[in-house]
Amino acid sequence: MATTGAVKVKIPTMFRKLTGNESEVDLAPGTIGQLIDQLDERFPGFKGQIMNEAGELHRFVNVYVNDEDARYLEQLETKTNEGDQVALLPSVAGG
């Protein structure tokens, strides 16, 4: 459902059961850290799943703001604006 003024955040498949199978949710613009806080309010426990105890994202989580890797922006302090597309992507790898 589109909300005016929102940031669209793509949710990893592992959490789609929390979101009623929605692959994207609309959140109020803020830093990546604030978006994660909003997700944690809406889906309790979310933060504990994507961050370690030091409050850092797990190494297998990639965050993109539009086409930019947040690791090369300001990481959790990266700001987002209305209309931005944020993706939380788990790494896909194996052996």
Partner: protein
């Protein structure tokens, strides 16, 4: 969990991609609608290794956006085992972070074997998980 159904030409395309990747492992993504495979995305194995695979996250993001644009869902992740059976390795279990079928194509014997598994974890960051096989059908 329902199975994955591949039209013959898409199963052939997936096998062709992993054959072309030898001696390294090859990988890709699968688009599905209600368990029916509708597209196979050939991806680059950025690990370029015979025993490891990894997607470039930016390539992965491009596919996920394409899935949204076309109204498809992520039906699975596939990769090859060039010399071992089509069963998740300890690395596959440790690295599994998507809640979708992991399809493994074994090239250890001819013809190639295709099997699919879901790796169920207690938490997203868990290294271990339960392996559940998912039926794979090739139609036509």
């Amino acid at each position: 969990m329902t199975g994955l159904r591949f039209p013959r030409e898409l199963a052939d395309e997936m096998v062709a991609h992993v054959l072309e990747g030898r001696p390294n492992e090859a990988c890709g993504l699968i688009a599905a609608q209600d368990g029916d495979v509708v597209h196979v995305y050939r991806m680059t194995n950025v690990s370029a290794s015979p025993v490891r695979y990894a997607l470039d996250p930016k390539d992965q993001l491009g596919v996920y956006r394409d899935l949204d644009d076309r109204g498809w869902e992520l039906g699975g992740v596939f990769h090859s085992h060039t010399r071992t059976e089509a069963y998740p390795s300890p690395t596959d279990v440790r690295e599994a972070r998507e809640d979708v079928p992991y399809v493994i194509v074994s090239l250890a014997a001819e013809p190639a074997t295709i099997r699919a598994f879901r790796i169920v974890k207690e938490s997203w960051s868990a290294d271990d998980g339960e392996i559940e096989e998912i039926p794979v059908e090739v139609l036509g």
